[in-house]
Amino acid sequence: MVLLSAPRWLRSRLTDRFWRVQEVLKYARHFRGRKNRCYSLAIRSVRRAFVKSTKARREKKRFLRALWITRIEAASLEHGLKYPSFISNLLKSQVELNRKMIADLAIYEPKTFKSLAALAQRRRQEGFLAALGDGKEPEGIFSRIVHHC
């Protein structure tokens, strides 16, 4: 005879509870205190850790940029320029290096950074001349805009 429904003594019980718990505990092994051993405490800490790492990935971009700007400011002050004038004059001379690159050059290639600072300084003087001279002086060399095909 065929039984249409399962008998009551047949239960579906969890057999891989150990591995499910280990999946969470493996992320908590380097934590401090009981939360690296006990599941109930660990699951809370692990969840917070994941959420914090997700949010930090977005903020990392922000504070790395702030770090680069600080470094560029320090390096350009060594050459007698302030950060806003350095960056604005570099952009006006059509040099499109981003802040990460300029910070790296300031650390590892000091001569190149010095030449960039000199370029920005020269463009700055030409800008002042153009503003104060009112057309009687010829145009600056570095103020010319280069057009690519």
Partner: protein, 152 residues
């Protein structure tokens, strides 16, 4: 810089001619140096995969995306922003010409990143989502950076 701009003597006509001649001399000197090969290791700043990289030869670069080239293919990187050696730097406005610099690279491996976990959780509201993100990555080895003496 505390300079006085009231007088127009800052960049007179003769100064300008002197600076132009000086500029032409510098360009010729650099051209000769490149032609004679008197430079050591070159470094270049290259715009690639929407990022800027400072590279030399024998460098390894890892991009966080896929490149439509097989492993072992040679690639030429065309958007070069800056090339430098010990004694001179060539700054592009914004790019350097393709007949001036040549940067070659080889695709070494194409893998996936480690599984990054994206989790959102709101306490006391029974809301949590967990997503595992695996990005494809490509590793390139920069073979050579060459410059040619065609400055003007």
């Amino acid at each position: 810089m505390g300079r006085d701009f009231s007088g127009r003597d800052f960049l007179e006509e003769t100064d300008r001619k002197v600076s132009l001649v000086f500029a032409a001399e510098v360009v010729q000197k650099v051209n000769k140096m490149i032609a004679m090969g008197q430079y050591g290791r070159l470094f270049a700043v290259v715009h690639f995969a929407s990022k800027q990289w400072k590279i030399t030869s024998e460098d390894l670069i890892m991009m966080d995306n896929v490149l439509e080239a097989e492993c072992g293919d040679r690639i030429r990187m065309e958007k070069v922003l800056l090339v430098g050696a010990d004694d001179f730097t060539l700054i592009g406005r914004p790019l350097l010409g393709k007949d001036l610099v040549r940067v070659e690279a080889t695709v070494i491996e194409k893998t996936e990143s480690w599984p990054k976990i994206n989790m959102r959780f709101r306490r006391r509201h029974n809301y949590q989502k967990k997503k595992i993100i695996v990005n494809p990555q490509t590793v390139l080895r920069i073979n050579t950076i060459e410059i040619f003496p065609c400055l003007s």
